[in-house]
């Protein structure tokens, strides 16, 4: 085992990211295939709204895991997450709790109220994060490795920063609850009789559960033993500049960069000048992680193409 496969062998969660259109899906899929060929059970999860996983593997892939390849020991399963399904499930469960607590004539009103959350600014992202957390959990249960084919850079970085931000958010709310409960205790000590301890306990439980999820996510993302990021780029100025920026932000987030893949390199025999330029670009690129070169492949679709790329990664 060598190359990118080796570099990623120790990690359980790998995020493959980069500028739009550089070939993240193919790299992620090939990497998965390479690992599987070495005997691992791998789950590929596409978080990109423009899902390409199914197209690439020439199979129908959905929100539930589908086997894409299966060998003697290893296999590759694939998921294209559907955030709106997650949102639906989430709101439905809250709605159920509400209807349990409310009188009949307010049921419809309560459901309408929750609808406002559906279209709120951060809901889509929150759902993606939820699903990432979920698939990681299942992933580490039933698979040896989870590889994420992510949305274009900006979104993914934002996603990776969320657990930390949300931990802070939950902690502020918990501080509010602390103060409120302390006042309640003083109130009770002075003879107050209004008792809201059930409600307080419930809120605290919900908030603690949330914080636990977020801080767990944050810790595992920042754990270099467990999580790694692979930047995919093409040898052109803009994608390279963006890759540098991504690397910098990953360092800030504490996420380990384990590899850089320069994809779609021009064939040296057909376009020598261009290839020379590309090599020059790559010469200057040093992001602190091993660089893997992958040639341009015509008609990249289906298992055979993926096999070829997998070979370059090994």
């Amino acid at each position: 085992m060598s190359g990118l496969v080796a570099a990623t062998a120790e990690r359980h969660a790998i995020f493959v990211g980069g500028k739009g259109g550089v070939g993240k899906t193919s790299v992620a899929s090939s990497l998965a295939l390479a690992h599987a060929q070495h005997g691992s059970r791998v789950l590929v999860v596409s978080t990109d709204p423009a899902h390409n996983l199914g197209h690439l593997w020439e199979q129908r892939v959905g929100d539930d895991a589908v086997t894409l390849w299966s060998g003697s020991a290893g296999r590759v399963d694939g998921i294209e997450i559907d955030p709106s399904r997650t949102v639906d499930t989430h709101l439905a469960s809250v709605s159920q709790t509400m209807t349990r607590l409310l009188p009949d004539h307010l049921h419809r009103a309560a459901r309408d109220h929750l609808e406002s959350a559906r279209d709120a600014p951060g809901t889509h992202e929150a759902a993606v994060l939820e699903r990432v957390a979920e698939t990681l959990e299942i992933g580490l249960d039933r698979y040896d490795r989870v590889i994420f084919d992510t949305a274009p850079s900006g979104h993914t970085l934002h996603l990776l920063a969320m657990p930390d931000k949300m931990t802070g958010w939950t902690e502020k709310l918990l501080a509010n609850r602390d103060r409120s409960e302390r006042f309640a205790v003083a109130y009770g000590a002075l003879g107050g009789t209004k008792d809201t301890s059930d409600r307080d306990a419930e809120l605290r439980r919900l908030l603690l559960r949330r914080r636990a999820r977020f801080s767990l996510m944050r810790d595992s993302l920042a754990d270099p033993q467990r999580t790694g990021f692979v930047i995919v780029t093409v040898a052109e100025p803009m994608p390279i500049a963006e890759s540098r920026e991504v690397a910098r932000q990953l360092a800030e987030l504490g996420v380990a960069l384990v590899g850089v893949v320069a994809n779609r390199l021009s064939p040296v025999d057909l376009m020598p000048t261009r290839r020379v330029r590309e090599d020059a670009q790559l010469e200057r690129l040093d992001l602190g992680a091993p660089l893997t070169r992958i040639p341009l492949i015509d008609e990249l679709v289906g298992l055979p193409s993926l096999d070829r790329i997998a070979a370059s990664l090994t």
């Binding site: 607590l101 109220h113 509010n176 002075l190």
Partner: protein, 87 residues
């Protein structure tokens, strides 16, 4: 009224006299914290864009029973949300 029950009533009255305003101060501070919390939870439905609306939604059932008192305190005679008619 017997002596001991009268004594108990006076005692009770005295402690209520002293503790009353002090207790109400704590009740007020507590209510302020709770009102702030309610505002955070309801932000999106009140028209304030809340990026954490996904997460605050699950807190809603627990705060719901205080909603009516809250909106009355906030100076809104009737419920500010068209679809929740508590009053």
């Amino acid at each position: 009224m017997s002596f001991s029950s009268r004594w108990a009533a006076i005692s009770q009255g005295l402690s209520e006299f002293y503790a009353g305003p002090y207790r109400r101060t704590f009740a007020r501070s507590r209510r302020d914290e709770d009102d702030h919390f309610m505002l955070v939870v309801l932000a999106e439905s009140l028209g304030v864009p809340d990026p954490a609306a996904y997460y605050t939604a699950e807190l809603l059932p627990a705060v719901y029973e205080d909603f009516h008192d809250w909106h009355q305190r906030a100076g809104l005679e009737r419920s500010p949300l068209d679809h929740i008619s508590c009053c």
